[in-house]
């Protein structure tokens, strides 16, 4: 009788194949890992944001809680979780409840395919680029649901703006990612990283890479709804845009999603253009490449991503906000045509094998 309850025949009893159980375990481990990772990441990013913006504005930022205010975000997080969760009377309750989860889930799903190092990549799908594009659309849905469900003029306006903005800028994001897809010939993210063994695409591609990188930088700032493209939550116009009515835990989900999105886009930029976890290599210079390999790939990835995150924050605290019509004009009259021209040029570069270390 006792033997029947041992763990070894658990799979037989519940009539499951051991492969399935193994996969289930893997998903559980992955989920726990991801949740821990994003919580820590959000703490670090919020602290970094506050410190960087403070020093850009000649301030010191948080200084009291812990050494140089290092525990400030933890304290703020605890405060957010203890706060009252207010639901407006006239709100569409289903949409109102679901919206933060949509935003958070979209970011979690994008995180799954990012190769953090050669060993750490949760799922390596062969259509990684398409997957990223599809999943980030999920976040827009969450934003629009939040704006509509709140039943508030500011929320609705913010959500409409966010929707229009994110859908528009998705085009130039995709166009600049397609340049790299043309060079690599694969949609798999791990292969995109491996293809940069002889040099990063930003400088191997004869200027086409630089232009695509700038396009992606602009459009990813826009997709993040950060200044200069923060029309969706411009405080001076819409109080807080789509999350005006949210408070407590639900607000913290939006907050979390925003910061994780920043990390994901920074990671995407470093994966596609700066070699991801790949160390800095130059062609066939084996001695130099071996020296660069001494630094572990995870450090390379974290370093590149941090630099990109710093650039995002730097841009945010420097530039003024655009008007709505300027925003749309920038995308549809400047960035999108530029993206198409760039893609065309990239196709020519690829066909003529013109790029470095072909």
């Amino acid at each position: 009788m006792n033997a029947n309850w041992s763990l070894s025949n658990l799979t037989e009893r519940i009539n499951m194949s051991s492969v399935f159980v193994e996969q289930l375990m893997w998903v559980a481990v992955g989920l726990i890992g991801v949740v821990t990772f994003i919580s820590l990441l959000a703490l670090v990013l919020v602290y970094a944001e506050r410190k960087i913006c403070a020093h850009i504005q000649c301030r010191l930022g948080p200084m009291r809680v812990g050494w140089h205010g290092i525990l400030q975000t933890l304290a703020d997080g605890i405060k957010l979780f203890l706060k009252e969760d207010i639901i407006p009377d006239e709100a569409d309750r289903l949409l109102y409840f679901l919206a933060p989860f949509f935003c958070l889930v979209a970011t979690l799903l994008s995180l799954l395919v990012i190769p953090l190092s050669p060993q750490v990549q949760i799922i390596d799908v062969n259509i990684g680029v398409i997957y990223l594009g599809a999943v980030s659309g999920f976040g827009i849905l969450g934003v629009i649901m939040a704006g509509w469900g709140s039943n508030n003029k500011w929320s609705a306006l913010g959500a409409m703006r966010a929707g229009a903005q994110m859908v528009s800028y998705e085009i130039s994001t995709t166009l600049s990612l397609l340049v790299i897809v043309l060079f690599v010939g694969s949609l798999q993210l791990s292969e995109i990283v491996l293809s940069q063994q002889e040099g990063w695409w930003i400088w191997r591609a004869h200027g086409v890479g630089v232009l695509a990188f700038i396009l992606l930088l602009i459009s990813s700032v826009a997709e993040l709804n950060r200044t200069p493209f923060d029309l969706a939550e411009g405080e001076s116009e819409l109080t807080a845009g789509f999350h005006t009515e949210y408070s407590g835990v639900r607000f913290s989900f939006f907050f979390l999603a925003e910061f994780i999105n920043m990390f994901i886009l920074a990671a995407m930029m470093s994966t596609f253009f700066l070699g991801g976890w790949m160390p800095f290599h130059i062609g066939q210079l084996t001695a130099f490449n071996a020296a660069m390999d001494l630094i572990p790939p995870a450090i390379w990835f974290i370093g590149k991503t941090s630099v990109m995150i710093f650039v995002f924050m730097w841009i945010r605290w420097t530039f003024p906000r655009l008007r709505v019509d300027q925003l749309m004009k920038l995308e549809w009259q400047v960035l999108m045509p530029l993206g198409f021209v760039n893609l065309f040029l990239a196709a020519i570069v690829v066909l003529t094998n013109f790029y470095f270390f072909a």
Binding site: I52, H55, Q57, C58, R59, L60, W314, T318, F319
Partner: protein, 234 residues
């Protein structure tokens, strides 16, 4: 000359054109716009990497080394010369010009048969530190000082009497030629000491040492309230 619709009185303004901004080509605007954005990035990067530019003060910790601008307005003071005589003549102009009625000047007729100051009372609780009193003073008798550590737990502690000396003004005393005469006049005045509450030990010691202020614990609240003092004066 045709009739114009746009006239102000007899003046024809139809030919007046507002100055329009010169619009350059798209490429020019793109390049200059990008350059100006980069300029902004450069400035913010400079401030980010130069911590000496930080203006925030870590106040309670750096109390010993804190430097406050001389122009900071936090405390009204009566100016006095090295003999301790006041410029103030009790003319009441500062009190009349105070937007909040925070100043009360109580004057008396002294030995010289001229108006003399008896008490100069400043209600800090209603003061906005606008500096008008200092600007309107014809005798340069008052000034604003940067000592800002004046918090107290009782509102009544914000009523200050600024003068300890009550008697002939410096202006009148300087007219006297015989110094012995002057000394006689000074001694003649019966000065009533201030009996109201004493905030932060500021009125007992003549000069409030900015770098080493008295700890808050040492506040002495006397039983007689300021209200009583004011009543007595009126």
């Amino acid at each position: 000359m045709s009739e114009s619709k746009y006239t102000i009185g007899n003046i024809d303004i139809s030919t007046v054109k507002s100055k329009r901004p010169i619009r350059k080509g798209t490429l020019y605007n793109l390049v200059t716009g990008f350059m100006s954005l980069m300029k902004g990035m450069k400035i913010t990067a400079y401030y980010f990497f130069h911590t000496k530019e930080v203006v925030t003060e870590q106040y309670p910790e750096n109390r010993e080394t804190l430097k406050i601008s001389e122009r900071f307005r936090a405390e009204l003071k009566l100016k006095k010369d090295d003999r301790g005589f006041l410029n103030c003549t009790g003319c009441n102009i500062c009190a009349q010009n105070c937007p909040n009625g925070s100043i009360e000047v109580i004057a008396m007729k002294g030995e010289t048969n001229k108006k003399e100051i008896d008490r100069y009372i400043w209600h800090m609780d209603s003061c906005t530190f606008c500096n008008i009193c200092v600007q309107v003073c014809p005798y340069d008798a008052i000034e604003m000082k940067p000592n800002f550590e004046s918090s107290a737990l009782d509102r009544r502690l914000y009523i200050y009497q600024l003068n300890k000396y009550a008697g002939p003004t410096k202006k009148n005393l300087d007219k006297l030629e015989d110094p012995a005469d002057m000394q006689r006049l000074v001694n003649l005045i019966k000065r009533e000491p201030y009996k109201g509450p004493i905030p932060l030990g500021m009125q007992q010691g003549e000069e409030h040492n900015f770098n080493h202020p008295e700890p808050v614990k040492k506040i002495v609240v006397k039983k007689e309230t300021a209200k009583d003092v004011v009543k007595k004066d009126v």
